[in-house]
């Protein structure tokens, strides 16, 4: 047990507990806010694993953008204050079984295979901006360019999806 183990363990407990609340919360906005806690703890885990840049990308993109999109989505679909009963469908027991089976299978397999593996967090090169820049722009240029095409497609798709009925149906104004 080293310091890294302890810190990672604590962050892991926070991450898992808030993850449980994400999938069981009775209110959609609460679930989204627990998602913030979960992602924040996960960013901390990345910091322990010396992935410095990835950790702050996690904060900027996931917490600052993706969760905000989720909150927008929840607010625009009129999530009321207070617990909501129909957030879950009827197949909770089956889902719990499937989730447990997946986690158990993955956990047993992977943990057993790497039981003795030890991460030397003090001996690895910290993944800061310079290291990541070198890696991406020396070895992974093609995926990087393809990502831009993917983003363009996603943007066009989202615009088409949200704006298609403007012609025949007056958009409800807030004024």
């Amino acid at each position: 047990m080293t310091g890294a183990d302890v810190v990672f363990g604590l962050l892991g407990v926070v991450c898992f507990a808030s993850g449980v609340l994400v999938v069981t919360a009775r209110n959609l906005i609460h679930a989204a806010l627990w998602l913030v806690v979960c992602f924040g703890a996960l960013a901390g885990c990345y910091l322990v694993l010396t992935a410095e840049f990835v950790a702050w990308v996690q904060v900027l993109i996931y917490i600052g953008a993706v969760v905000v999109l989720m909150l927008f989505g929840a607010m625009l679909t009129r999530t009321p204050i207070g617990p909501v009963q129909d957030l879950d469908s009827g197949n909770r027991p089956v889902a719990a079984l499937a989730g447990l089976a997946t986690a158990g299978l993955l956990g047993v397999l992977v943990v057993d295979a790497f039981r003795a593996a030890y991460v030397d967090v003090h001996g690895t090169a910290v993944g800061d901006g310079h290291v990541m820049g070198t890696a991406i722009f020396r070895y992974y240029v093609l995926p990087f360019e393809i990502a831009s095409v993917l983003l363009l497609a996603a943007l066009v798709g989202a615009i088409v999806l949200t704006g298609q009925r403007r012609a025949n149906q007056a958009a409800p104004g807030e004024h």
């Binding site: 322990v48 840049f53 999109l69 469908s89 992977v110 967090v121 070895y139 990502a147 989202a158």
Partner: protein, 114 residues
């Protein structure tokens, strides 16, 4: 630190994601559970990168790409959810059966609520 700590956490998060996708009825909540699964995969990538001391830092670079793809996925996913909400006034995934082939009795469910 022990690699199995990170791998165990990742497996647990993935299990939570599976549970959420199957148990949730609200489409936005389903998307949240999908995010949990993607993050579980990211944690694995970063952990193996650190363990392997990868010279190319492939794990971290791939984690970045996963984050980018996830952002695009959530954006389009929520756009679909909002469109469905505007048309049908509900985003309960088990009530949207318009594309279902059988079970004609339940087609009425997809009619917009006045």
């Amino acid at each position: 630190m022990h690699l199995s700590l990170a791998l165990g956490l990742s497996a647990l998060l993935f299990g939570l994601g599976v549970y959420g996708v199957l148990a949730r009825r609200n489409a936005v909540a389903v998307l949240m559970a999908v995010e949990l699964m993607l993050n579980a995969a990211n944690l694995d990538l970063v952990a193996f990168d650190a363990w392997f001391k990868d010279q190319l830092h492939s794990g971290q670079v791939f984690a970045l790409f996963v984050i980018v793809v996830a952002a695009a996925e959530v954006g389009v996913g929520l756009a679909i959810v909002l469109s469905v909400f505007r048309l049908r006034d509900t985003i309960a995934v088990d009530r949207l059966r318009m594309l279902a082939d059988r079970d004609p009795v339940r087609v009425g469910d997809t009619e917009p609520v006045p």
